[in-house]
């Protein structure tokens, strides 16, 4: 299989504090993976190591077939990044900045087309600091993808967005044909964008899989409700089957609610803290 990120036994510590205690992670070409975890779990450290911005203590790391610690310009040209809270180049004009960043890459997108796609063509000659928050964010995305990255890092990309800007951003990311590694605190966002979800707890990947697989692994209870009762159960199909037998036919007002990613996640975090 074509893997874009391949991590085995990644370890990292700051002084005495172990931040990453042996992480395994694989990203297949074209998929979107969300990296979840409470603050301080090591999400940003992991991404920084994958980008070659930080040197790891131990472990095997391959990003696009290369060790990020030794990645040169040709390797870097295949990556794209959108970080939270960028306020750089406030005095530059939108189009000038995008053209300048694009010129670093061998085969960038047409910057005029890109601005149009992102709905920024009306602001090409605006100064970057005069953009609204949502426009500034779209410019960040444009700057992150202008080099046609094979792999895109998104670090808490929608923090501080209003719901409309968030939806626009999600649609934009879904329209991209690239591998994406995303960190977020917004579990609905992870559920919507990600093919697979990795939960980072105490420097280890606690679970890694589709949102359904995560729920199954966590065994967060499902809620079963019918006319005459309500029950929380790890095995809702079994309960439904018993109910059918009890009623000798259709169960009145039967409703089964599987745990959302958020419930599974919180369940997992609470259990690890206990």
């Amino acid at each position: 299989m074509d893997t874009v990120i391949n991590v085995r036994g990644l370890r990292m510590s700051y002084g005495e504090r172990q931040v990453l205690r042996g992480i395994d992670l694989d990203l297949r070409r074209g998929e979107t993976v969300a990296l979840l975890g409470p603050n301080g779990a090591g999400k940003t450290t992991t991404i920084e190591i994958l980008q070659g911005l930080r040197t790891r203590a131990a472990g095997e790391v391959r990003v696009l077939g290369e060790d990020p610690a030794r990645g040169g310009d040709a390797w870097r040209a295949r990556l794209g990044t959108v970080l939270q809270d960028w306020r750089d180049h406030p005095r530059w004009h939108v189009r000038t900045l995008l053209d300048h960043v694009a010129a670093h890459y061998p085969t960038p997108w047409d910057t005029g087309e890109l601005l149009k796609t992102l709905g920024l063509d009306g602001h090409a000659t605006a100064r970057v600091r005069d953009l609204s928050g949502g426009q500034r964010r779209r410019l960040d995305v444009a700057l992150g993808i202008v080099g046609r990255p094979e792999l895109l890092f998104l670090d808490e990309p929608t923090t501080g967005f209003d719901p409309e800007a968030r939806r626009e951003f999600h649609e934009l990311i879904e329209s991209l044909d690239t591998t994406v590694l995303l960190t977020t605190h917004d579990l609905a966002e992870a559920e919507r964008l990600a093919d697979r979800v990795a939960v980072l707890l105490d420097g280890r990947i606690a679970v890694f899989g589709t949102p359904q697989e995560v729920a199954a692994a966590v065994q967060a209870p499902s809620l079963v409700r019918w006319r005459d009762g309500t029950e929380q159960t790890d095995d809702p199909s079994e309960l439904a089957w018993r109910l059918h037998q009890r009623y000798g036919g259709p169960v009145p007002e039967l409703e089964i609610r599987r745990p959302s990613l958020e419930e599974s996640y919180l369940n997992l975090v609470e259990r690890s803290a206990a």
Binding site: Q51, L53, R54, T55, D73, A74, R76, A77, L79, T81, L83, D85, W86, R87, D88, H89, P90, R91, W92, H93, T96, H100, V101, A103, H104, Y105, L143, G147
Partner: protein, 259 residues
């Protein structure tokens, strides 16, 4: 596009953006305004050695422009670039860091050139200051400018990389630079300063920058501290600062960033 072309283009865009920026305008022309007010106020007085105060201060302010570009403007720009995320963005671009360094060098050179040209034009119009007439004078002008810039740029880059914000950088270097400006014979000849101040100022590159430039522009060293041109000492002091900065800056930066 080659890295060099990209870096030069970056420097041009950056300097153009700063020149057109109203917020930057104040900081940018504060020095020019101070210079203008001073020459209109005391420019008619003699400065010694047959040189008028306007011509003397014009050369002094050119020296200060080079000095402050390295020790004040550069750290503030670098600190702002880090604070706003420009440095991080460039670190993640292919060839981003060499392009950034080239760009900063170009924008700083332009900053020095524009300000010096303006002051020399004003000094020429009002104070009768003329450009060097001999090849020797021009050669002195060039090496003093280059060595003077090199004596402060590594230090400025280091300050900019270590201080967290542009405001902190301005606060840290603002007052010492101003004191040094008063003490180093930019506005008033050093001969008018108390002896301890004279000795202290001669440790720093700013005084020697001004001394070297006066040697390029003026015929007689009559108004100088020791009544003679001391270009060897000027080269030694500025060179020592340049070498110390180039050796210390990478070492200190590695210790501070710790990665």
């Amino acid at each position: 596009m080659t890295t060099m072309t990209l870096g030069i283009r970056r420097g041009l865009i950056e300097q153009n953006a700063i020149l057109r920026d109203r917020k930057e305008l104040g900081t940018n022309i504060a020095g020019l305004i101070m210079y203008l007010m001073l020459i209109l106020w005391i420019g008619r007085n003699p400065a010694g050695g047959g040189v008028g105060m306007t011509a003397f201060m014009t050369v002094g302010f050119v020296a200060f422009t080079v000095f402050s570009a390295g020790i004040m403007t550069l750290p503030m720009l670098i600190a702002a670039d880090r604070e706003e995320g420009a440095l991080l963005r460039l670190r993640m671009l292919p060839r981003g860091i060499p392009v950034y360094i080239t760009g900063r060098a170009v924008s700083l050179t332009l900053h020095i050139a524009v300000h010096s040209a303006l002051m020399l034009a004003i000094g020429g119009a009002i104070g009768g200051l003329t450009l060097p007439s001999s090849l020797y004078g021009w050669a002195t002008l060039v090496w003093v400018l280059v060595l003077g810039a090199l004596s402060v740029i590594p230090l400025g880059a280091m300050i900019g990389a270590m201080l967290p914000t542009a405001k902190a950088a301005a606060a840290a270097v603002g007052l010492p630079s101003m004191l040094l400006m008063i003490a180093s014979g930019v506005m008033v000849p050093m001969t008018m300063m108390p002896t301890p101040v004279q000795w202290a100022a001669q440790i720093f590159p700013l005084y020697w920058q001004g001394h070297g430039l006066r040697a390029a522009f003026f015929a007689s060293p009559g108004g100088e501290l020791h009544g003679t041109w001391e270009l060897g000492t000027a080269a030694t002091v500025m060179g020592a600062w340049a070498v110390a900065g180039m050796v210390l800056a990478p070492w200190l930066l590695r210790r501070v960033t710790g990665k």
